[in-house]
């Protein structure tokens, strides 16, 4: 729950920052909830990708690890992650598959998307909102900040 709430707060703060000059601060970069790849394995006992934690580390040795084949909504995904100089330098898709006839819909996109969610940003792109929706989003963000 905590993670979800942070995500929501983050996006609304960005909106708020746009309209209200509030400085968007980093809420969870480097924390365990920033969407490291293991997060989406959702309870899988095999989480070797935890070594790719989003926390920037400088002292860790270069390393390549391969995750277990993780089932997800549309198939399975297996990632090979390479860490160089403390940063993720490469992510390869091993034997991944997708069902539902979506030949090119791959789980790794979801993985990347989730991994990126914990990153700072200063703008938010979405379907053209109405003035009312914008105001509502702002007021709910203000309430949450309250």
């Amino acid at each position: 729950m905590r993670k979800t709430r942070h995500r929501i707060t983050n996006s609304l703060l960005a909106l708020f920052a746009l309209a209200g000059g509030v400085v968007l601060t980093q809420h969870f970069a480097g924390s365990g909830s920033s969407g490291s790849f293991s997060t989406t394995a959702s309870g899988s006992s095999s989480t070797p990708s935890s070594s790719t934690s989003a926390a920037p580390t400088t002292g860790k040795p270069d390393k390549t690890v391969t995750s277990a084949a993780v089932p997800y909504q549309f198939g399975t995904v297996q990632l090979t992650v390479t860490r160089t100089s403390g940063k993720i330098s490469k992510i390869d898709i091993g034997s991944s598959s997708a069902t539902n006839g979506r030949q090119s819909a791959y789980a790794y996109l979801v993985q990347y998307a989730i991994a990126s969610q914990g990153t700072n940003f200063s703008n938010l792109s979405g379907a053209t909102y109405t003035t009312d929706a914008f105001k509502q989003a702002l007021s709910s963000a203000i309430t949450k900040l309250g």
């Binding site: 309209a19 940063k87 791959y106 979405g126 379907a127 909102y129």
Partner: protein, 284 residues
């Protein structure tokens, strides 16, 4: 013209300004070497550019030139010159997108709404740039344009909203992309989350509403390019990915990147999009 929640702030040369127009909110931010009042004056002029376009092109205003055109009461030649300019632009984009962007409604009237918002926003943006403002970011109701030079790493990063309304309880970030050191400056999203199924499929019988995707985000080189392709891809549906991959191969200098969200939440994207995802450790 209704007032936005917060209209204008100015601090140490950094401005933030919102303009309500076309039923949505346009937000500008950036750096100005001018004083607070002079900066506001320029921002209001940029706002006027939006309102002028709205007066000309709105189909919600009964007596706008476009409404009169749609009713057959006037001709393009009798409309302000910008109408002809936008008409030509629509025809150009219809060709580029293989007909998946079309400004001709199911009733065969001219409706350039899919282009006018960002076309006008670009004009407003360009005006601000001629006023010497730097680090200008624009959020045109969910469509983003970034300045060519931005000093703060955060400013290069744009969050893509989930395919739900920003006002909903499920509002949140789907992903974050980072456009630093890429040829892309614009991020436009089309979807049904805010305004329902409002994009018609120009190739469907009766030009029925497109509904195969929940949301499309296009990362492009210009605002209008990204906006038009977002509309076109939404109309085209899942096969838009293959279309854009082929387009990118044939036109690398105009290439774009697309990520689509299926109604059940799965994602697909063009070849190369993956490189745009922000890296969680990119600030290290």
């Amino acid at each position: 013209m209704t007032e936005g929640p917060i209209r204008y702030t100015f601090q140490n040369g950094h401005f933030l300004y919102s303009e309500n127009c076309m039923g949505t909110v346009f937000v500008f931010s950036g750096q100005s070497a001018l004083g607070e009042a002079d900066t506001l004056h320029r921002l209001e002029q940029a706002g006027d550019i939006l309102h002028e376009a709205d007066r000309t092109f709105s189909l919600y205003k009964e007596n706008s030139p476009l409404s009169r055109l749609a009713r057959g009461e006037t001709s393009v030649a009798q409309c302000p010159p910008v109408v002809s300019e936008v008409w030509d632009a629509c025809e150009k984009w219809e060709k580029i997108t293989d007909g998946w962007f079309s400004a001709f409604t199911p009733q065969n009237t001219f409706d350039p709404s899919g282009l006018v918002k960002t076309w006008a926003a670009q004009a407003a943006y360009d005006f601000l740039k001629t006023q010497g403002f730097t680090e200008v970011l624009m959020n045109a109701g969910g469509d983003i344009l970034l300045d060519e030079q931005l000093s703060k790493p955060d400013d290069w990063r744009v969050a893509l909203h989930k395919p739900v309304s920003i006002a909903s309880a499920e509002a949140g970030v789907l992903a974050v992309i980072d456009l630093k050191n890429t040829p892309f400056r614009a991020v436009c999203t089309s979807g049904s989350a805010e305004r329902g199924l409002h994009i018609w499929d120009p190739k469907a019988p009766e030009k029925a509403a497109a509904n195969a995707l929940a949301q499309v985000t296009v990362v492009g080189r210009s605002l209008v390019q990204a906006d038009v392709w977002a509309t076109a891809c939404f109309a085209h549906g899942p096969r838009a990915i293959q279309q854009v991959n082929a387009y990118n191969s044939a036109h690398p200098e105009d290439s774009i990147q697309v990520v689509v969200v299926y109604p059940d939440g799965d994602l697909n994207a063009t070849e190369g999009f993956i490189e745009l995802f922000a890296k969680p450790d990119s600030e290290a």
